[in-house]
Point group: C2
């Protein structure tokens, strides 16, 4: 049975579910940062997904990237499947600006997360639910 | 007309062409590091490719990741579409180990590239041509 990795559970809130993936909001207000987690038990590597699942996940990545791009109009979308620290397969989709803290480098491992305040996190998640409709 | 960005031209050698993408070897011997560049004029964002092209490129990413994974048997494959520095759309596919210089962080912007020696670069490119057959 699929269960979300405890680290991802701690670091995100659930925006919605797509056909294959959970769409999670990273608890870091420095960037509009969404994480896709395909609900496939023991999946670690993107390329090892079954062909149909891989294609659906690819389409889900595109869908999320497109919605973030349209809504936030960032200078760049960054997409990354790393998983060196949290092995459960997950794909980062992040809106980037020249003014953000990590630009032009990648965001991972840079500085400290700035969590959304507790009293805002549900409203913020709902915002993303609307953006990703 | 599509032309490869001068920075990518300087930093890579051409391994082969797939249906849509050029497959390039990064001139950095620290990692088995391949870069896919879809031959689509003015493409910057992965998600803005036409649907058919997007799906073909997704399959090409999977193909390259799979071949690197089978051949090098790394601890992890990292896939990234960033483009914050070089705007031309390109997708990094990198084999990673716990013993490599950047682990567990991303490779981009970490340390200095260690170019393959000039007398080895053609043979190395040919090695990757065989790996990606």
């Amino acid at each position: 049975m699929f269960t979300l990795h405890p680290q991802l559970q701690a670091d995100t809130t659930l925006i919605k579910k797509l056909e294959v993936s959970q769409v999670l909001l990273a608890r870091d207000s420095r960037y509009p940062w969404v994480i896709l987690v395909p609900e496939v038990e023991n999946a670690v590597e993107l390329h090892l997904l079954e062909t149909d699942t891989y294609r659906t996940v690819s389409d889900e990545i595109r869908f999320v990237a497109d919605r973030l791009y349209q809504h936030f109009q960032p200078q760049k979308i960054n997409i990354g499947a790393l998983g060196n620290m949290v092995p459960q397969l997950h794909i980062h989709i992040v809106a980037r600006w020249q003014t953000d803290e990590a630009w032009p480098g990648p965001i991972w491992g840079v500085g400290e997360a700035k969590p959304y305040p507790d009293q805002e996190i549900m409203a913020k998640t709902e915002d993303f639910r609307n953006i990703l409709k």
